[in-house]
Protein backbone atom coordinates (compact mmCIF):
# COMPACT_ATOMS: atom_id res chain seq x y z
CA UNK A 1 0.00 0.00 0.00
CA UNK A 2 1.26 3.48 -0.89
CA UNK A 3 1.06 6.50 1.44
CA UNK A 4 -1.35 8.11 -1.02
CA UNK A 5 -3.70 5.16 -0.80
CA UNK A 6 -3.30 4.94 2.97
CA UNK A 7 -4.30 8.58 3.42
CA UNK A 8 -7.37 7.99 1.27
CA UNK A 9 -8.43 5.04 3.41
CA UNK A 10 -7.74 6.94 6.63
CA UNK A 11 -9.97 9.74 5.42
CA UNK A 12 -12.62 7.37 4.07
CA UNK A 13 -12.78 5.45 7.31
CA UNK A 14 -14.65 8.48 8.65
CA UNK A 15 -17.25 8.14 5.90
CA UNK A 16 -17.70 4.41 5.56
CA UNK A 17 -16.83 1.05 7.03
CA UNK A 18 -13.62 -0.17 5.38
CA UNK A 19 -13.48 -3.76 4.15
CA UNK A 20 -11.44 -6.13 6.29
CA UNK A 21 -8.85 -6.33 3.53
CA UNK A 22 -8.55 -2.52 3.52
CA UNK A 23 -8.40 -2.41 7.30
CA UNK A 24 -5.58 -4.93 7.50
CA UNK A 25 -3.64 -3.35 4.67
CA UNK A 26 -3.99 0.03 6.34
CA UNK A 27 -3.04 -1.28 9.77
CA UNK A 28 0.09 -2.85 8.34
CA UNK A 29 1.05 0.29 6.43
CA UNK A 30 0.58 2.55 9.44
CA UNK A 31 2.76 0.27 11.57
CA UNK A 32 5.69 0.59 9.18
CA UNK A 33 5.18 4.22 8.04
CA UNK A 34 5.88 7.01 10.53
CA UNK A 35 4.64 9.74 8.15
CA UNK A 36 1.21 8.14 7.81
CA UNK A 37 1.07 7.48 11.55
CA UNK A 38 1.51 11.18 12.05
CA UNK A 39 -1.07 11.94 9.38
CA UNK A 40 -3.56 9.64 11.10
CA UNK A 41 -3.07 11.47 14.39
CA UNK A 42 -3.43 14.86 12.72
CA UNK A 43 -6.61 13.80 10.98
CA UNK A 44 -8.15 12.85 14.32
CA UNK A 45 -6.85 16.06 15.83
CA UNK A 46 -8.42 18.18 13.09
CA UNK A 47 -11.69 16.33 13.24
CA UNK A 48 -11.94 16.88 16.99
CA UNK A 49 -10.99 20.52 16.69
CA UNK A 50 -13.35 21.33 13.83
CA UNK A 51 -16.26 19.59 15.53
CA UNK A 52 -15.70 21.87 18.52
CA UNK A 53 -15.53 25.11 16.56
CA UNK A 54 -17.94 27.52 18.15
CA UNK A 55 -20.32 29.17 15.70
CA UNK A 56 -19.80 32.38 17.65
CA UNK A 57 -16.05 32.27 17.09
CA UNK A 58 -16.44 31.57 13.37
CA UNK A 59 -19.04 34.30 13.00
CA UNK A 60 -16.68 36.76 14.68
CA UNK A 61 -13.84 35.79 12.38
CA UNK A 62 -15.98 36.23 9.29
CA UNK A 63 -17.82 39.31 10.44
CA UNK A 64 -14.60 41.27 10.82
CA UNK A 65 -14.69 41.59 7.05
CA UNK A 66 -18.30 41.33 6.04
CA UNK A 67 -19.99 44.43 4.88
CA UNK A 68 -21.51 44.99 1.45
CA UNK A 69 -19.48 47.27 -0.77
CA UNK A 70 -21.13 50.64 -1.33
CA UNK A 71 -21.60 50.28 -5.13
CA UNK A 72 -23.18 46.88 -4.58
CA UNK A 73 -25.44 48.20 -1.85
CA UNK A 74 -26.68 50.93 -4.20
CA UNK A 75 -27.05 48.49 -7.07
CA UNK A 76 -29.25 46.15 -5.06
CA UNK A 77 -31.36 49.04 -3.81
CA UNK A 78 -31.86 50.29 -7.35
CA UNK A 79 -32.85 46.85 -8.57
CA UNK A 80 -35.30 46.42 -5.73
CA UNK A 81 -36.85 49.85 -6.23
CA UNK A 82 -37.22 49.13 -9.91
CA UNK A 83 -38.89 45.82 -9.12
CA UNK A 84 -41.18 47.58 -6.64
CA UNK A 85 -42.18 50.22 -9.19
CA UNK A 86 -42.89 47.64 -11.84
CA UNK A 87 -45.37 45.98 -9.57
Amino acid sequence: MTCKHATLLLSESEERQLSSRERWGLRFHVVICAACRRFKKQLQFLRLLLSQASPKMLAAVYASDASLSEPRRQEIKTLLRRAAEGQ
Binding site: L46, L49, R72, I76
Partner: protein
Amino acid sequence: MTSRQTKEQIQSEDPAEWVDLYGDMLLSYALSRMRDRDIAEDLVQETFLVAWKSKGNFAGRSRFSTWLVSILRRKIADHFRREGSRTSYSFDESDEWEESEPLFNKQGKWTRSPKSWSASPEKLVENREFWTVVTRCLGDMPTHLAYVLRLRELKSAKTKDICNLLEITSSNVSVRLHRARLLLRQCLEEKWFE
Protein backbone atom coordinates in the same frame (compact mmCIF):
# COMPACT_ATOMS: atom_id res chain seq x y z
CA MET B 1 -38.32 48.43 13.40
CA THR B 2 -38.87 45.43 15.63
CA SER B 3 -36.94 42.26 15.12
CA ARG B 4 -40.14 40.36 14.53
CA GLN B 5 -42.06 41.89 11.72
CA THR B 6 -45.53 41.07 10.67
CA LYS B 7 -46.44 39.93 7.25
CA GLU B 8 -48.19 43.24 6.63
CA GLN B 9 -45.17 45.32 7.56
CA ILE B 10 -43.02 43.40 5.13
CA GLN B 11 -45.56 43.80 2.35
CA SER B 12 -45.72 47.56 2.67
CA GLU B 13 -42.04 48.26 3.25
CA ASP B 14 -39.65 49.89 0.84
CA PRO B 15 -37.53 46.87 -0.12
CA ALA B 16 -34.45 49.06 -0.50
CA GLU B 17 -34.46 49.40 3.27
CA TRP B 18 -33.93 45.67 3.59
CA VAL B 19 -30.48 46.12 2.12
CA ASP B 20 -29.35 48.34 5.00
CA LEU B 21 -31.05 46.18 7.58
CA TYR B 22 -30.04 42.72 6.44
CA GLY B 23 -27.37 43.12 3.75
CA ASP B 24 -24.31 42.74 5.96
CA MET B 25 -25.83 39.89 7.91
CA LEU B 26 -26.54 37.98 4.70
CA LEU B 27 -23.10 38.73 3.29
CA SER B 28 -21.34 37.46 6.40
CA TYR B 29 -23.44 34.31 6.18
CA ALA B 30 -22.46 33.84 2.53
CA LEU B 31 -18.79 34.55 3.26
CA SER B 32 -18.78 31.95 5.99
CA ARG B 33 -19.48 29.44 3.25
CA MET B 34 -17.38 30.75 0.40
CA ARG B 35 -14.36 32.87 -0.09
CA ASP B 36 -15.15 34.65 -3.32
CA ARG B 37 -16.55 38.01 -2.33
CA ASP B 38 -18.03 38.84 -5.73
CA ILE B 39 -19.98 35.61 -5.85
CA ALA B 40 -21.09 36.07 -2.24
CA GLU B 41 -22.39 39.55 -3.08
CA ASP B 42 -24.09 38.19 -6.21
CA LEU B 43 -25.91 35.61 -4.12
CA VAL B 44 -26.97 38.22 -1.57
CA GLN B 45 -28.32 40.32 -4.43
CA GLU B 46 -30.25 37.37 -5.85
CA THR B 47 -31.58 36.63 -2.40
CA PHE B 48 -33.08 40.10 -2.05
CA LEU B 49 -34.65 39.93 -5.50
CA VAL B 50 -36.17 36.52 -4.83
CA ALA B 51 -37.36 37.75 -1.44
CA TRP B 52 -39.06 40.69 -3.10
CA LYS B 53 -40.76 38.52 -5.69
CA SER B 54 -41.91 35.94 -3.20
CA LYS B 55 -42.60 38.16 -0.22
CA GLY B 56 -46.17 36.96 -0.38
CA ASN B 57 -44.85 33.62 0.86
CA PHE B 58 -43.39 35.10 4.01
CA ALA B 59 -45.88 33.94 6.58
CA GLY B 60 -44.62 36.02 9.47
CA ARG B 61 -44.19 32.94 11.61
CA SER B 62 -40.42 33.21 11.66
CA ARG B 63 -38.25 36.29 11.74
CA PHE B 64 -37.88 38.00 8.41
CA SER B 65 -34.08 37.66 8.72
CA THR B 66 -34.42 33.89 9.19
CA TRP B 67 -36.59 33.72 6.11
CA LEU B 68 -33.98 35.66 4.11
CA VAL B 69 -31.22 33.32 5.29
CA SER B 70 -33.27 30.32 4.17
CA ILE B 71 -33.43 31.79 0.67
CA LEU B 72 -29.71 32.53 0.70
CA ARG B 73 -28.93 29.01 1.85
CA ARG B 74 -30.72 27.60 -1.17
CA LYS B 75 -28.88 30.02 -3.44
CA ILE B 76 -25.54 28.90 -2.00
CA ALA B 77 -26.36 25.23 -2.47
CA ASP B 78 -27.49 25.93 -6.06
CA HIS B 79 -24.26 27.77 -6.69
CA PHE B 80 -22.08 24.88 -5.57
CA ARG B 81 -24.21 22.41 -7.49
CA ARG B 82 -23.80 24.49 -10.66
CA GLU B 83 -20.12 24.95 -10.07
CA GLY B 84 -19.64 21.25 -9.48
CA SER B 85 -21.29 20.30 -12.74
CA ARG B 86 -19.82 23.11 -14.82
CA THR B 87 -16.23 22.35 -13.96
CA SER B 88 -17.14 18.65 -14.21
CA TYR B 89 -14.34 17.56 -11.96
CA SER B 90 -13.21 14.20 -12.96
CA PHE B 91 -12.75 11.97 -10.00
CA ASP B 92 -10.40 9.84 -11.82
CA GLU B 93 -7.41 9.19 -9.57
CA SER B 94 -4.99 10.22 -12.29
CA ASP B 95 -5.97 13.84 -12.80
CA GLU B 96 -7.26 14.24 -9.27
CA TRP B 97 -3.69 14.71 -8.17
CA GLU B 98 -2.36 16.99 -10.82
CA GLU B 99 -1.17 20.20 -9.27
CA SER B 100 1.86 22.43 -9.16
CA GLU B 101 3.21 20.91 -6.00
CA PRO B 102 2.06 17.33 -5.60
CA LEU B 103 1.65 15.98 -2.09
CA PHE B 104 2.79 12.54 -3.20
CA ASN B 105 5.44 11.45 -5.66
CA LYS B 106 4.99 8.97 -8.48
CA GLN B 107 5.53 6.05 -6.14
CA GLY B 108 2.74 7.35 -3.91
CA LYS B 109 5.09 8.44 -1.12
CA TRP B 110 4.79 11.77 0.70
CA THR B 111 6.87 14.43 -1.02
CA ARG B 112 7.08 16.19 2.33
CA SER B 113 6.44 14.07 5.33
CA PRO B 114 3.96 15.47 7.89
CA LYS B 115 5.67 17.08 10.86
CA SER B 116 4.83 16.54 14.44
CA TRP B 117 2.32 19.05 15.85
CA SER B 118 2.58 20.09 19.42
CA ALA B 119 -0.61 21.80 20.49
CA SER B 120 -3.53 21.06 22.71
CA PRO B 121 -6.93 21.10 21.05
CA GLU B 122 -8.48 22.65 24.16
CA LYS B 123 -6.33 25.75 23.83
CA LEU B 124 -6.79 26.08 20.09
CA VAL B 125 -10.57 25.96 20.28
CA GLU B 126 -10.50 29.30 22.11
CA ASN B 127 -7.82 30.88 19.97
CA ARG B 128 -9.26 33.37 17.55
CA GLU B 129 -6.02 33.70 15.58
CA PHE B 130 -6.04 29.99 14.96
CA TRP B 131 -9.57 30.11 13.57
CA THR B 132 -8.61 33.02 11.36
CA VAL B 133 -5.90 30.80 9.89
CA VAL B 134 -8.36 27.91 9.52
CA THR B 135 -10.84 30.07 7.61
CA ARG B 136 -8.05 31.41 5.41
CA CYS B 137 -6.92 27.88 4.63
CA LEU B 138 -10.48 26.93 3.75
CA GLY B 139 -10.68 30.04 1.59
CA ASP B 140 -7.49 29.16 -0.26
CA MET B 141 -8.65 25.74 -1.38
CA PRO B 142 -11.02 25.19 -4.32
CA THR B 143 -14.48 26.21 -3.15
CA HIS B 144 -16.17 22.90 -3.95
CA LEU B 145 -13.72 21.17 -1.62
CA ALA B 146 -13.98 23.69 1.19
CA TYR B 147 -17.78 23.60 1.03
CA VAL B 148 -17.94 19.85 1.51
CA LEU B 149 -15.43 19.96 4.35
CA ARG B 150 -17.39 22.71 6.12
CA LEU B 151 -20.61 20.76 5.87
CA ARG B 152 -19.02 17.56 7.09
CA GLU B 153 -16.72 18.78 9.84
CA LEU B 154 -18.09 22.12 10.98
CA LYS B 155 -21.75 21.30 10.57
CA SER B 156 -21.41 17.57 11.24
CA ALA B 157 -23.57 16.85 8.19
CA LYS B 158 -24.03 13.22 7.25
CA THR B 159 -22.33 12.07 4.06
CA LYS B 160 -25.70 10.99 2.72
CA ASP B 161 -27.17 14.46 3.23
CA ILE B 162 -24.22 16.06 1.44
CA CYS B 163 -24.78 13.70 -1.53
CA ASN B 164 -28.42 14.73 -1.70
CA LEU B 165 -27.71 18.42 -1.31
CA LEU B 166 -25.05 18.53 -4.02
CA GLU B 167 -26.44 15.72 -6.15
CA ILE B 168 -23.15 13.85 -6.23
CA THR B 169 -22.28 10.28 -5.32
CA SER B 170 -20.92 9.23 -1.95
CA SER B 171 -17.60 8.32 -3.55
CA ASN B 172 -17.37 11.85 -4.94
CA VAL B 173 -18.01 13.20 -1.47
CA SER B 174 -15.31 10.91 -0.06
CA VAL B 175 -12.77 12.00 -2.62
CA ARG B 176 -13.55 15.67 -2.08
CA LEU B 177 -13.30 15.26 1.67
CA HIS B 178 -10.02 13.42 1.41
CA ARG B 179 -8.61 16.10 -0.84
CA ALA B 180 -9.89 18.88 1.40
CA ARG B 181 -8.48 17.25 4.53
CA LEU B 182 -5.07 16.87 2.91
CA LEU B 183 -5.07 20.50 1.84
CA LEU B 184 -6.25 21.79 5.20
CA ARG B 185 -3.66 19.69 6.99
CA GLN B 186 -0.89 20.99 4.79
CA CYS B 187 -2.02 24.60 5.02
CA LEU B 188 -2.25 24.50 8.82
CA GLU B 189 1.13 22.87 9.07
CA GLU B 190 2.66 25.66 7.00
CA LYS B 191 0.75 28.57 8.49
CA TRP B 192 0.24 27.55 12.08
CA PHE B 193 2.21 24.61 13.34
CA GLU B 194 5.57 25.60 11.94
